[in-house]
Symmetry: none
Subunit: 196 residues, 4 copies
């Protein structure tokens, strides 16, 4: 049921998606949608929350599955899980990351919170890397911006991928790691402050 709504949100964007179309696509009458979700915003949020939970679960599960490996391997597993999710849940990904950057959108606060959770997954890993290297995260300006940048790169890479679907999720993940991991590792080891 949320799925049909998500398809409309993904195709049209929040504003252009009309409750009429959603109800039609779901195969139910508009009042039913309101009975179940209360409002358009609530429906939108429910969908995003759902998709976000799924994405986070995918990443966490993948990362846990290799929990005995190195941190680099765990990052790779999580990154790969992200691209696989994008591949398999295009609507969910599209909605999650499309209006996420929008200023002043509805639910901006709530949507940001979901994004922050995803960033936090990376951040936790990065904190461990720093810890293993004996570096105080604060000394390198915090790991949050690092995670933000990494996730942002992954996000746009995924967007690009959707329009150039020649490569596999594995290749995409590898690419992102190739680009980011070297530098991140150095930064997290405290060897980078002050420039390359």
């Amino acid at each position: 049921m949320l799925r049909a709504a998500g398809a409309v949100f993904a195709a049209r964007g929040y504003h252009a998606a009309s409750m009429d179309e959603i109800a039609d696509r779901v195969g139910v009458s508009k009042p039913m949608v309101y009975t179940y979700f209360g409002s358009k915003e609530a429906l939108y949020f429910a969908y995003i929350e759902d998709a976000g939970r799924d994405l986070i679960a995918s990443i966490v599960d993948a990362e846990r599955a290799v929990r005995t490996g190195s941190l680099a391997e765990r990052l790779r597993a999580g990154t790969l899980a992200f691209f696989r999710f994008v591949d398999e849940h295009r609507d969910g990904y599209a909605v999650l990351f499309s209006e996420m950057a929008a200023r002043g959108g509805p639910l901006r606060r709530e949507v940001s919170a979901i994004r922050r959770q995803i960033v936090e997954l990376a951040q936790i890993l990065f904190d461990r890397v720093a810890e293993e290297a004996g570096v105080d995260p604060d000394a390198i300006g915090g790991t949050e911006p690092l995670a933000v940048a990494y996730v942002g790169a992954g996000e746009w890479l995924a967007n690009w991928w959707l329009e150039h679907p020649e490569e596999s999720a594995e290749q995409l993940a590898e690419r992102l790691l190739d680009i980011g991991w070297r530098g991140l590792e150095r930064v997290l080891a405290g060897q980078a402050q002050a420039g390359a």
Copy 2:
């Protein structure tokens, strides 16, 4: 005049911004706005095009100013110019990058074109790096995704920065280079295909 419109677009997003509010903020009546721009879409596009042109010009100028330097220095100059632009044109940046990811927004085509130009600036540099390393871009999967990822990382870093404005533009640029340049350099030298 565009500036006031931009402030509203930045604060509310395209859809939620009403022409009434824009006209009020500008200090003229709605018909004037229509006289000058013709339609809401046209106004929006004019603003975005303007901001995009400014941003691109900033980056290009900065990069040209160090044109005799190494490619790394030129990338640094461009990156720094990007963050400086963000700092000095918060509304412009916000609008440029907010609905840029939006599905189904108006002018999606045109807005994407602007983004593509920015990505191309990075891509051109990356192509040169590969060239200097004697590597055929096609052999490493093309430089476009690399540029997309780099710009995407910078973009989200800038977003994060707007809400955590403790650091300087210089620091942010350095951070992005620290994260990305190492890996990019290796990838562009053909040493990364198949993972770290």
Copy 3:
């Protein structure tokens, strides 16, 4: 429902009629009108088409009812039906014939088509008259202008009648026949070319 809309169109004309007033008069809200008809033009056209169909049906039915009579009797029957329609559907008639002459009105094409059908009804009769007299319609310049003139005369007579409603539809029809039939008969018999 169309009826109330017609009343407003008749009273105000297409442009001056506001959807607000129409909705009010109908006793529903504006969105209902849009739900049913889609747009102001569509509503207008629906009303005109309806009225046109009714008028044409009235004339055709009346004429068929005396189909065994002489052509003059059939013309009388049709003419009478026209005036009766005017009497009983003042709004419909007013709308049908008011903006029919308007330059540049909306739906000009469509509205003209309805008028043309009415003219054709007369024309068909006139063709028969010529045929019975053994006259080739082309030899007398065609029957279309004759029909146009006859209908035009009836139309303005009806307009005049609406403001001078002392006479009956029968009297009006008789009057129009008195004025036109003599001359038409002669023209159609080929005895008039070159002036009275």
Copy 4:
């Protein structure tokens, strides 16, 4: 100056004609138009009054020129003058007769007055015909409706002519007389009441 305004009114109709376009076409600024005419309605009326005066003058002059002839000849002269006017002043004619039928148009009262004057020209002649035949106009229901019908027929014939301009004004006038005069003569002689 009125001429340019008339061209716009004729091409677009009253409502669709914008003061902007009129001022542009005139080659003067909008405030000037307002200085000279005060309002759109006033301008429209001025143009119509002008055209009406010209038309009436044409008809009256033509009819006076044959004032020694028979009434039929005078009617022919006036009728011909009408068609010649249509031919030479298409815009004027279009505006005069287009929104003349419109319900609720602006200046309906005033526009009708002009039309009534034209009808009166015919009516005066018809009164004379009746007088010569020794018939009391009231006994035949008044001559006004006769004039109305005659003018209405001429009007639509002229409209038709504008779209089928193969014939000359003379032929059109002859046609109208052929159609109408026979019957009118009989009616005015008191020989028609009670039907053909």
